[in-house]
């Protein structure tokens, strides 16, 4: 099978302005993936399926990744003029100060596709696509027209991560009910506070059960000190 670099070159030869990036995997498996620009993804996918040398005719898996907004603190050395009182005389002294600057890297949602070729018995080729952000611009092109097996899995990703697949013909929630508003696999999802009865709580559950008890003092299920 071709390496990711060769696949990238083949895609760029077939689809100009494809905007393919290699995302390397430093682990021993070395399963590098290709990040596609959402604009040309459908064309690239069509090429990957129909190309004689690749013939990636089987989509085995679609999943999502949530990348929350990340705050990065950087320490920068800054030299500036500071007014100081030295030996009773006011002077302006050059001083080097270490400053921490914080910047927020905006998060995004990512869809991951694993492709195999049944015809040529090779794979996997991993495709990734990223949304602009994780709040209002969460659209990605659906690859269901290319691989039919993406249909339910894209619905699942829509349900659990909230990625909207444009071009999907039946994008409804798959696992949760239609009235449900949240996306449970997102990192900032807060599950409902139903920790009223936790007889053997520990770790996170214990913390949440205690928080629930503090918030609902009347409805406490515990009898503190009632030990016989």
């Amino acid at each position: 099978m071709k390496t990711v670099e060769e696949i990238k070159a083949a895609i760029e030869a077939a689809v100009p302005r494809a905007g393919v990036e290699i995302v390397s995997n430093p682990s021993v498996s070395a399963q590098h993936s290709l990040r596609l620009a959402p604009g040309c993804a459908l064309e690239v996918a069509k090429f990957l399926r129909d190309d004689a040398e690749l013939a990636l005719d089987f989509l085995s898996n679609v999943t999502g990744v949530d990348w929350p907004d990340k705050e990065i603190a950087e320490k920068v050395k800054v030299t500036r003029a500071v007014t100081k009182t030295v030996d009773g005389v006011e002077q302006t002294v050059e001083e080097t100060v270490e400053e921490t600057s914080k910047r927020v890297v905006p998060g995004c949602l990512e869809a991951v596709y694993h492709l195999y070729s049944v015809k040529l018995k090779h794979g996997p080729v991993v495709l990734r696509m990223r949304t602009v952000n994780r709040t209002d611009q969460v659209e990605l092109p659906s690859l269901t027209p290319i691989w039919r097996s993406a249909e339910f899995q894209e619905r699942e990703v829509f349900d659990l991560y909230g990625i909207v697949f444009a071009g999907h013909h039946d994008l409804r929630r798959l696992l949760m009910w239609p009235e449900f508003k949240d996306h449970p696999m997102r990192r900032d999802y807060l599950e409902p506070d139903d920790f009223e009865f936790e007889p053997t709580a520990h770790d996170v559950v214990l913390a949440r059960a205690e928080a629930h008890r503090a918030a609902h003092p009347g409805a406490s299920s515990d009898q503190e000190g009632a030990k016989a």
Binding site: E191, Q223, A226
Partner: protein, 202 residues
Amino acid sequence: MDEQLKIELGKQGIVATTFEELYNWGRRSSIWPMQFGLACCAIEMIATTMARYDLARFGAEVFRPSPRQADLMIISGTVTKKMAPQVVRLYNQMAEPRYVIAMGACAISGGPFKQGYNVLKGIDRYIPVDVHIPGCPPRPEALIQAFMTLQKKIDAQPLTGAGRPRHLDAQQQGEFPVPVQGEHDLEPTSNPGVWTVPVVIR
């Protein structure tokens, strides 16, 4: 009637019984379960009905595909929040007398998925459960044990007075509110007429 006298009479070929005994014998000897399974516990439930364990020996002769014809609901497996309203609705459609066995860790408490966002923490939050069986999944013997426990419970019920079965008590509620699937969780999260927060003594 004196138990010893009844045995003596039986030796003489005279059968003495009470209406209550006859009625309860009839009730406990033909409990037909409803034919539905929710998860992996259902596989054990199916095994229990097959030739090796043969639940039919105890009167669970056939599994009925309609709630109208069933007496027993075996909650065999994980009750997800998406499925819970349907389970309660099916229970409401069953005719009295009706019984519920909560089979396995998930059905009684949520089991390994208890802290998940999509699993109900025990079906006893919405409908009255007669027998709980722990296990993940419980073996067929455990289900048979639960079935026999239910039969003993039915046998011990008087037909009048405080401990009488629900269908003979006009004051008892017959219909249980079906939870609504809300924007974040089921609403309400439990039926207070059926389930209150148990007291944990630490």
